[in-house]
């Protein structure tokens, strides 16, 4: 009850552990100050015939208190830096995960090195008031062993449609997911309790966070930056499944999107009504 949501990602474990330490320190300080306050007031109430002792301060006590407080601050700072660093470092994928990615040292805006084992890179785009998730095309080595449900006639990866989903992010269990955050309109903030750190999504700047979900299931999250009238509706969900399920879902999603695109294309080819406005002045009468 006094703690955050239970952690389901290595970085969330770091965050929660430090939370408990800080809660303990803060509780001790606040309760000690209050206890001392009450005790002193009870003990030194004015009574007849007793006047206050005019004690002058001694420098030594000040220095001891100041030194103690500074020491606490420095220790907390060191712990904060260490945990920030460790929570920003992408762990490699677990045994059941999709890909074995090597550990990476991450800043808030990670520059992920190119090279062999990579985390699963997904882009989360905030827009008023829904989250859109963009998935990578299956890696080359996976497409060499074609998935049974993969859409037929998929040629080069260039023609592979960008797979995306709204509201629900589907990821494989035990897999390091690197989430790049972007926004098409205003400031949004992505967070799913139990899966690591909050991160801003703001137009013009990319931001990143990551998680590695340790358990299959559904995790609910939301947008945590006031973004206008529909802000409370801007929720999100992470559905964690096993790797085959993920690949199947991805293929089906791709197929569905491709079907939809083919349908639209057919419609466009048939009726010219939809075509003409795509070029030229799409806003007649409007100023530029």
């Amino acid at each position: 009850m006094l703690g955050p949501e239970s952690a389901h990602s290595p970085n969330a474990e770091d965050l929660n552990a430090l939370y408990w330490v800080m809660l303990a320190i803060a509780a001790v300080l606040a309760l000690a100050a209050n206890a001392a306050l009450v005790a002193l007031v009870v003990r030194h109430r004015a009574v007849r015939g007793r006047s206050a002792r005019r004690v002058r301060s001694r420098g030594r006590a000040q220095f001891i208190v100041a030194g103690g407080l500074t020491a606490i601050a420095i220790v907390i700072f060191a712990a904060g830096v260490i945990v920030t660093h460790s929570a920003s470092k992408l762990d490699s994928a677990g045994a059941d995960g999709l890909q074995a990615s090597r550990p990476l040292t991450a800043q808030r805006t990670l520059d992920v090195p190119s090279g062999d084992p990579q985390p699963l890179k997904i882009t989360a785009v905030g827009q008023q008031w829904i989250w859109r998730y963009e998935y990578p095309a299956p890696a080359a080595d996976q497409s060499s062993s074609p998935n049974p449900s993969a859409p037929a006639g998929t040629g080069a990866s260039a023609s592979f449609p960008q797979t995306f989903s709204y509201y629900e992010l589907v990821v494989p269990v035990d897999t390091t997911v690197l989430l790049t955050l972007d926004s098409t309109d205003v400031l949004h903030r992505w967070w799913v309790p139990g899966l690591g750190a909050k991160a801003d999504a703001i137009p013009g700047t990319l931001n990143q966070t990551w998680f590695r979900a340790d358990e299959e299931g559904v995790y609910d999250g939301a947008s945590y930056a006031f973004s206008g009238a529909g802000y409370p509706a801007m929720r999100t969900r992470v559905r964690v499944v096993d790797v085959p399920q993920y690949q199947q879902w991805l293929a089906e999603q791709a197929q569905g999107i491709q079907k939809g695109q083919a349908f639209v294309q057919a419609q466009l080819a048939e009726g010219g009504a939809l075509v003409d406005n795509s070029e030229g002045d799409e806003a007649p009468g409007g100023s530029e």
């Binding site: 955050p4 306050l37 009574v47 004690v55 967070w191």
Partner: protein
């Protein structure tokens, strides 16, 4: 500044011509609202800020009513957003900061032995800017109130997303208030620098006046930055500016930095007046001088410096190189030193004292207790990884609210109860004060502990509804009940002040046996404050005066009553 013969601190060294009894030719209210007297300006600022506090509380309780049960439909979403924007702006910009500045405006010149402020007309102008700011914000309920939250972050506040006049209203109102308060800070700065009584060295300044000096410097630093940010936002909105437009080479994060520097300054301004007032009230009612005055005064300088330099602790989730974030975290954590030292010295002042639990002292003790919780909560939030958990949940709101209530409300009310007899010649009712304090203390914990717990469960900040089945229902219901208790408690004190101004028990110039110069003046003081300005030889000038009287008259009678002697 001791004069060689040292016969007495009481003899006037400078002949002063004082004329006070010129009858006014205009109605009382015009005299009051156009007065150049810092006492009239201060009282009006205090009165207006308390009125805005009540308005802010009404808005707060309405929002809590909407959040009493999950998926509530009591208040329209757009109305909630407007209450949110106006309510928070009111509590910070129209209550906390002007309440502090109003108290300083009234008390500081008296404490430093000045006959007024350096720029009396500027003070009047500042007052009117502030009142216009409040009017601009509230008149907008007749057409389009703001809806872009208390800081109106772009891009949301750009016309592409909110094209109505609400954001412009907000910019106007905040701009007027910040300009007014910054000008008055300038006035106080010059007053403090140039108009102190002979012998009143900086180190002899009363803690509240010292807090006034530091607060004024702080406002002079952060106020213009906010004015710049507001101007740029307005240019973006109406004159094709691109300061905060990512598509055109600007960046919204510039506004985030500027506004957070300002609002962090406001946060410090919730603390400083309370620290100054407590540092006078606790010694006065313990019958002892402030323990380690120097350390407390030094802390008052360190708090705004470290506090404002830690502005980026509000931006730990932004895309900022981690080194900057570490810097902000270090500043925020180092605040533990001045704040902890201040608390320690308050407690050490209580130790061995003869404590009288009168109304100002009770409020000061309540403020210390509440601030201990609030500042400990801030300490948790200062650590980057923990901030990633708590930021932008209602837990963060709860922690800030603890500091607002502990600092601005309880600390401010302690100051009001303490100096009320100086302003009116009457005491504030003690039993109403006790009732008010009890309700506030119960209310603050009842409201904000459940909100902290709801934040841990992940309830987002600023949302007009929450959803059932997430374990949030009970917390929110309790918090709503608490908000009513808290607001009634504050209201009792506001009513108490209004009543006591005409019906309170009449007292002499020094009802608390204070040690600072304002108690030397009659209550309420005449327009020129002092007939004779005494020489100051220590941090406790009134004690010196009492001793001098004692030595001269050989009687303790007059000193006991603290009657002005000259």
């Amino acid at each position: 500044m001791s004069d060689g013969n040292g016969s007495s601190t009481l003899s006037p060294h400078r002949p002063e011509l004082v004329s006070d009894a010129v009858p006014s030719r205009r109605p009382r209210w015009i005299e009051l609202t156009t007065s150049g007297d810092h006492k009239d300006q201060g009282r009006l600022m205090i009165g207006a800020s308390l009125a805005f506090l009540v308005l802010g509380l009404v808005e707060f309780v309405l929002m809590r009513a909407q959040l009493a049960v999950p998926q509530n439909t009591l208040i329209e979403p757009i109305t909630f957003d407007r209450l949110l924007s106006v309510g928070q702006t009111t509590l910070i910009v129209l209550f906390a900061v002007p309440f502090a500045i109003g108290l300083f405006t009234y008390v500081v010149p008296l404490q430093i032995g000045a006959r007024g402020t350096a720029f009396p007309r500027l003070g009047s102008f500042a007052l009117w800017l502030y009142l216009s700011a409040g009017a601009a914000l509230y008149v907008s309920f007749a057409y389009t109130p703001p809806e872009a939250n208390f800081n109106a972050l772009p891009p949301l506040s750009e016309p592409a997303f909110i094209s109505n006049n609400g954001v412009d209203v907000w910019i106007t109102s905040v701009g007027l208030a910040v300009l007014g308060m910054t000008l008055q800070a300038l006035n106080l700065t010059v007053t403090l620098r140039r108009m102190r009584a002979p012998g009143m060295a900086w180190r002899r300044l009363a803690p509240f006046s010292f807090a006034g000096a530091v607060s004024s410097w702080l406002l002079l630093a952060v106020g213009p930055l906010m004015l710049a940010a507001l101007t740029m936002l307005e240019i973006d909105r109406h004159f094709d500016g691109v300061f905060f437009d990512a598509g055109e080479g600007g960046a919204p994060i510039y506004y985030q930095h500027l506004s957070w520097i300002f609002f962090t300054g406001c946060y410090v301004l919730m603390l400083l007046p309370a620290i100054g007032a407590i540092s006078e009230i606790v010694p006065t009612f313990s019958g002892k001088p402030l323990f380690s005055r120097g350390a407390v005064l030094a802390s008052m300088v360190a708090i705004p410096v470290l506090g404002v330099l830690a502005w980026m602790q509000n931006m730990f989730t932004a895309s900022i190189p981690v080194g900057w974030l570490y810097g902000a975290m270090l500043m925020a954590l180092l605040l533990l030193l001045p704040l902890g030292l201040t608390f320690y010295n308050w407690l050490a002042t209580l130790a061995g004292g003869a404590i009288r639990l009168r109304a100002p002292m009770l409020f000061a003790l309540g403020a210390i207790s509440t601030l201990a919780f609030g500042l400990a909560g801030e300490l948790i939030q200062a650590v980057i990884p923990v901030n990633w958990l708590l930021a932008d949940t209602v837990a963060a709101t709860a922690e800030t609210a603890y500091v607002l209530v502990g600092g601005s409300v309880l600390g401010g009310l302690a100051a009001l109860h303490y100096w009320f007899p100086k302003m009116t010649g009457r005491l504030m009712g003690e039993s109403m004060a006790g009732l008010s304090l009890l309700l506030i203390l119960v209310g603050v914990h009842l409201t904000f502990i459940p909100m902290f717990l709801a934040g841990l469960e992940g309830q987002p900040v600023d949302a007009y509804r929450f959803f059932e089945g997430q374990g949030l229902d009970t917390y929110n219901l309790i918090a709503t009940i608490g908000s009513v208790v808290l607001s009634i408690g504050i209201l009792v004190s506001v009513i108490n002040a209004a009543r006591s101004a005409s019906r309170g028990v009449e007292v002499g110039p020094d009802p608390w046996h204070g040690e600072t110069l304002e108690w030397y003046a009659p209550s309420p003081p005449p327009e020129h404050n002092f007939d004779v300005i005494p020489d100051v030889r220590s941090a406790e000038p009134l004690r010196d005066i009492r001793d001098a009287v004692l030595a001269r008259e050989g009687s303790s009678e007059q000193a006991e009553q603290g009657a002005p002697v000259a």
